[in-house]
């Protein structure tokens, strides 16, 4: 273009050139890339000294197995938080899904179909969350607080308040079996994260999630189907919680109405530890898995050290505060 206004008349159009970067900026850069990974590694190093057998191969596998349910929940929570929402119902969905699927299995339904029933129940709750949040415009916190309550109630009502025993070996396999020496839940967890990584990075749905979380008004004006996307996001969160419930039932050999208590808070903590912002638009699924592992390593290490569950809660809460504080201080 033969513009009379040459480009250099515009101030601020170029970002600061990378040349002459100072040491401090390099540190920041490394921190931005690695941040929480460094904390995780540091935590592992500490644990390997203070907790007996922490570095054993079997223990490491054990950690992954232990975190798998929370991890699956946290994957769904990540996309919800990316849109600027919250899903408090996932812990209760874990219970409902477990009870529903085990009861179906006991009633003679094919184990695979029974498991799908549990996942489906989770999807349904998520869908309802989505409709009330996106279409009716109610705050997600309130909507999912309500479903956290009624879904837990449904789990009690349908099971009569007692654990339902799981007898199907096929069903048990999903929580307790292993393939090539690695527990099944770890495969499931890995699959969920790989798919989620792909969806968030490479699909239109994933990019729209970031757009909505970053600026919902602009997204609407851009012609993005905001409501539909949100309904899908909550449905997926519910579906993954349902999957988590099935896995947990398979591990416990029973569907328990008390299962998954406070799992939603672990999932939220993991997502925030993983660098997502509660206001939406910022965060990565890779971060979430790191957050999950940080929580898992703490629990595991403390258990190996024979620290009581009660004290573990105190430590865990403290670590969450400290980690998020460190994260804030750097930025």
């Amino acid at each position: 273009m033969k513009s009379a206004l040459s480009p250099n008349h515009q101030p601020n159009s170029q970002p600061t050139p990378p040349q002459g970067m100072k040491f401090g900026q390099n540190v920041t850069l490394v921190w931005n890339q690695l941040g929480m990974i460094l904390i995780l590694i540091l935590l592992c190093i500490v644990m390997s000294f203070v907790a007996p057998n922490f570095l054993d191969g079997s223990n490491l596998t054990n950690i992954l197995k232990q975190v798998s349910v929370t991890a699956i929940l946290a994957a769904g929570m990540t996309i919800v938080i990316l849109t600027g929402g919250i899903d408090l119902s996932v812990g209760s969905i874990v219970a409902l899904s477990g009870v529903v699927s085990v009861m179906a299995s006991q009633a003679g339904v094919h184990p695979v179909l029974a498991m799908l029933a549990g996942v489906g129940a989770g999807y349904l709750v998520g869908f309802i969350n989505g409709v009330f949040t996106a279409k009716a415009g109610l705050p997600a916190f309130i909507v999912t607080l309500a479903s956290m309550t009624y879904v837990r109630g449904l789990a009690y009502v349908s099971s009569g308040g007692y654990p339902v025993v799981l007898e199907s070996n096929t069903f048990r396999f999903i929580g307790s079996g292993s393939i090539l020496g690695i527990p099944t839940p770890i495969y499931l967890m890995a699959l969920v994260y790989l798919v989620m990584f792909y969806v968030l990075k490479y699909t239109m749905f994933g990019r729209h999630i970031y757009a909505i979380g970053g600026n919902a008004e602009a997204a609407r004006l851009t012609g993005i189907k905001v409501k539909k996307t949100l309904v899908n996001v909550y449905s997926i969160s519910g579906l993954l919680a349902g999957l988590g419930g099935v896995v947990l039932a398979g591990r416990l050999y029973s569907g328990q109405p008390t299962a998954g208590n406070m799992y939603e808070l672990d999932a939220i903590a993991a997502v925030i530890l993983g660098g997502s912002k509660l206001t939406g638009g910022v965060g990565k699924i890779q971060g979430t898995i790191i957050g999950v592992l940080i929580m898992g390593v703490i629990t595991n290490g403390l258990t190996l050290m024979d620290v009581s569950y009660y004290s573990q809660l105190v430590v865990k809460g403290g670590v969450i505060l400290a980690a998020v504080l460190i994260d804030r201080v750097r930025s």
């Binding site: 273009m1 480009p7 515009q10 101030p11 239109m204 757009a211 851009t222 012609g223």
Partner: protein, 515 residues
């Protein structure tokens, strides 16, 4: 229009109340201010001028204690003493008041509370707040500036202009001796501006030094006594306002003559050849837009002028399906359409570049390329994923065609200047292949250089056959870019001007309700 008798201070005989010398400020390696000087005298209105990014707001933030200057980065003398405020509260206590462009009020509290916020409320013996006393104190301040606002009223019920009064009252309540006003008239009507100016005149008489930041030349020459121009973080010049004129000021700000402010040569298209791209018949909406009828032909830029609040934004929002119309018909390319959502609008080939870039346009955390193509992502959809190769190529094309200056297409858009961000938003709408482009204040908050570049782009788009509706509150922009001009007043079209006959005076005549 009211004219004001200026009370000219005689600065030479007085000591400056505040004087900043050799101020420099660097942010992580980028120098934002270099050796800037400014003196403020009691009772003067001092216009601080410069393009966006020239350093005005940084300088004012240093003045009000938000930032500290660099080490060895200059000194501030206030009332004869050397000062260095550690935080804005201390500056405020010392008498530095700031009225931000975005008002900082709590909408659900009363006017009194907003005025006295941050001070200790009078208490009764039990330690409870004595509200009668609070309201009385607030009223005192309001009366002193000739305002008849009720102190008990909630701020949320006030108009923008009234809210500004509350902000000013707050500054007065702590006896500000230096008052910084950042674009105070940006969202005021002419009448409200007159009201603001008489308050400023009053303050001037009482010896308050006012820093007045505005891009509107007309106002500056009406109200200011002296000026200071910054450019690229450097002090360029200060002087009495009588010794300069708009052209001179602009040339100081941009460092070049502004002969090259964009001037469109007129539409290339003959109207008789064609059907209108957009035809609106008797449109009314639920607010106050009433019975609007007009058409826009391909290749034509139609300007919509009027005062803020005349209903222009409401008009384009209902055309785009954001708010609903209650009566009337809209025809796009000879087809009657029923647009109920932005998705419908895009389908029919209508695009809207909204008024507020940050709130309604940008995804600040996302890359430039995604910001450009977000509306058209489905065009790049393969079975399960997006075709990122095509996506990147297409984004590159827009970046090149619209001359968007970015380090890389993958850079977050938050790092671009306002002008380049705006071009990216325009590019997004071009990607939807529209027939009708609605532009709501396309160059708001964009510096002068980028402005005329955007004007040129708009003009090129029209020449390529697009029908453009452009809302603008800046008369030179409307006059420079439009082929025809509609003027709105209180929800109705009050005037229709061809480019040849249009003038600022005629537009203002219609915009203020004349016929």
């Amino acid at each position: 229009m009211v004219t004001f008798e200026k009370v000219r201070p005689v600065p030479v005989s007085l000591q400056p109340v505040l004087s900043m010398k050799g101020i420099s400020k660097t942010f992580t390696g980028t120098t934002v201010l270099k050796n800037v000087n400014i003196d403020l005298y009691p009772g003067e209105v001092h216009a601080l001028m410069g393009e966006n990014g020239a350093g005005k707001s940084t300088l004012m933030k240093i003045l009000s204690g938000v930032y500290a200057p660099d080490q060895e980065g200059g000194t501030i003398r206030y009332k004869g003493e050397h000062v260095q405020w550690k935080d804005p509260l201390l500056a405020r206590k010392a008498g530095i008041g700031v009225i931000h462009q975005e008002l900082n009020l709590s909408p659900n509290l009363s006017i009194s509370e907003n005025i006295l916020m941050g001070t200790k409320y009078p208490r009764n013996k039990l330690g409870g707040v004595r509200w009668d006393e609070v309201h009385r104190m607030a009223e005192e301040v309001l009366v002193s500036m000739g305002s008849d606002l009720q102190p008990e009223q909630l701020v949320s019920t006030l108009s923008v202009a009234q809210q500004q009064m509350v902000e000013i009252a707050r500054a007065l309540s702590y006896k500000a001796e230096v008052l910084i006003m950042d674009e105070p008239t940006a969202s005021l009507t002419d009448k409200e501006i007159d009201g603001l100016f008489s308050i400023i005149n009053d303050l001037r008489k009482h010896g308050v030094a006012i820093v007045y930041i505005s891009h509107r030349m007309e106002e500056i020459f009406k109200i200011a006594d002296r000026y200071t121009v910054l450019r690229d973080g450097e002090w360029i010049r200060s002087g009495p306002i009588q010794e300069t004129n708009p052209e001179h000021l602009v040339s100081l700000m941009v460092g070049r003559d502004l002969k090259d402010l964009f001037k469109r040569k007129g539409s290339l298209y003959k109207r008789e050849d064609d059907h209108p791209a957009l035809e609106v018949k008797g449109l009314s909406d639920s607010t106050f837009v009433e019975d609007l009828s007009f058409s826009i032909y391909p290749g034509e830029i139609v300007g919509f002028a009027g005062l803020v609040g005349a209903g222009r934004t409401e008009l384009v929002r209902s055309l785009f399906g954001v708010s609903s119309m209650t009566k009337g018909e809209v025809w796009v390319q000879g087809e009657k359409v029923d647009i109920r959502s932005p998705i419908d609008a895009i389908k029919y080939g209508v695009a809207l570049v909204p008024e507020s870039r940050k709130d309604q346009g940008l995804f600040l955390d996302m890359s430039v390329k995604e910001n450009i193509l977000l509306a058209e992502m489905k065009a790049f959809k393969k079975i399960m994923k997006l075709n990122w190769k095509e996506f990147n190529r297409s984004a590159d094309n827009y970046i090149r065609d619209l001359r968007i200056k970015t380090a890389s297409p993958a850079q977050p858009i938050s790092g671009l200047s306002g002008g380049n961000q705006q071009k990216a938003v325009i590019a997004r709408w071009l990607s939807t292949n529209p027939k009708v482009l609605l532009l709501d204040e396309p160059t708001r908050g964009v510096d002068i250089g980028a402005k005329s570049e955007i004007h040129k782009i708009i003009s090129e788009l029209a020449d390529a056959g697009l029908a453009v509706l452009m809302i603008s509150s800046e008369l030179p922009e409307v006059l420079g870019v439009s082929d025809r001009i509609f003027v709105m007043h209180e929800g109705r079209i009050t005037g229709h001007l061809q480019r040849e006959e249009a003038s600022q005076e005629k537009i203002m005549h219609y915009a203020t309700g004349g016929n």
